[in-house]
């Protein structure tokens, strides 16, 4: 195994692991805020949870971007061809 493949695998792992930190913190804050809002106004729970799901999916996309970068590094690396 050459150094380029080694570096690609390491950086793919780094991309996924560090890319998961930010969205995890963001999702935690979003869920906490939604819980707070539902506790204050239980009658608005329907709208809040629908918006929450959409927001969570948008935040989760950041982690998915990192996953796509990692898969690009592992499967479609232009340097290893």
């Amino acid at each position: 195994m050459n150094w380029l493949a080694f570096a690609s695998i390491i950086s793919a792992a780094i991309a996924v692991s560090f890319g998961a930190i930010g969205p995890a913190l963001g999702e935690g804050r979003a869920v906490a805020a939604a819980m707070d809002a539902i506790a204050r106004q239980p009658e608005a729970a329907n709208v809040i949870s629908r918006t929450l799901f959409v927001g969570l999916a948008m935040i989760e996309t950041m982690a998915i971007y990192c996953l796509v970068i990692a898969l690009l590094l592992l499967f479609a690396n232009p340097l290893l061809k």
Partner: protein
């Protein structure tokens, strides 16, 4: 392990390679079109149970368009509704054994994102003419022209990567867990995948609506301000 970024040709139609995703896409299209024709062929004023169910779907799409775009839903219902229903059915087509959702391949998502990109231009030009649409790029002030131009490209790209990444990662993780753990273990992951698929179809449609409303809504005050404003 096969790469999730490439797709293998199933058979050749002349010189054109046909992949499994293309076949699935055409089957979904045929089912949706034929189902739509069959359902809407005998419409009655007093709806039957089937008609009531499909009217409920159309009504929900209309309500979402009205809530999100703040415009009358009639011109946008066909595009946005078809987009949502196609992506929804495509994401859930993984329920059928042996079928991989076509949205897990990047070319299907690229085609869908390109459709949204063209639809934004189409609806924008139709609402305010070519001059009116181009003037939206200079919307707060002309300094923003390059930024607005880049934004219209990058948001299309992020739409593509978002749908592709979400659906593909679900398929990929299920494949890994299946090869590591065995037969019945990935079932909870598949249930999660169904939720993700539905939410992603919803988000794709919502974002398409937001982009179109951004192009159409900015034109409105410039072209026909008074006649629009006076109506209650």
């Amino acid at each position: 392990m096969t790469s999730p970024l490439t797709s293998v040709a199933l058979f050749y139609l002349g010189p054109v390679p046909i992949t499994a995703g293309v076949v699935t896409t055409w089957v979904i299209m045929a089912v949706l079109v034929i189902g739509g024709i069959l359902v809407s062929r005998r419409l009655s004023l007093v709806p039957s149970k089937t008609q009531a169910f499909f009217e409920l779907i159309v009504d929900t799409v209309d309500g979402q368009i009205r809530d999100t775009m703040r415009l009358e839903p009639t011109p946008y219902r066909a595009f946005v509704g078809t987009l949502f229903i196609f992506i929804f059915v495509a994401n859930w087509s993984s329920l059928i054994p042996g079928v991989e959702p076509p949205t897990a391949h990047i070319e299907t998502d690229a085609a869908l994102a390109l459709l949204v990109f063209i639809a934004v231009i189409w609806f924008g030009v139709r609402a305010g003419g070519i001059r009116g649409y181009l003037s939206t790029f200079a919307s707060p002030n002309p300094i923003m022209i390059p930024l607005n131009f880049i934004e219209s490209l990058t948001r299309t790209f992020s739409l593509l990567v978002r749908l592709f990444g979400n659906v593909m990662s679900g398929v990929f993780v299920i494949g890994i867990v299946l090869s590591l753990a065995g037969l019945l273990v990935p079932i909870p992951l598949m249930a999660l995948d169904l939720l993700t698929g539905a939410v992603q179809a919803y988000i794709f449609a919502i974002l398409a609506m937001v982009f179109i409303a951004g192009a159409v809504g900015e034109i409105k005050p410039a072209s026909n301000t008074l006649s629009q404003r006076r109506s209650p």
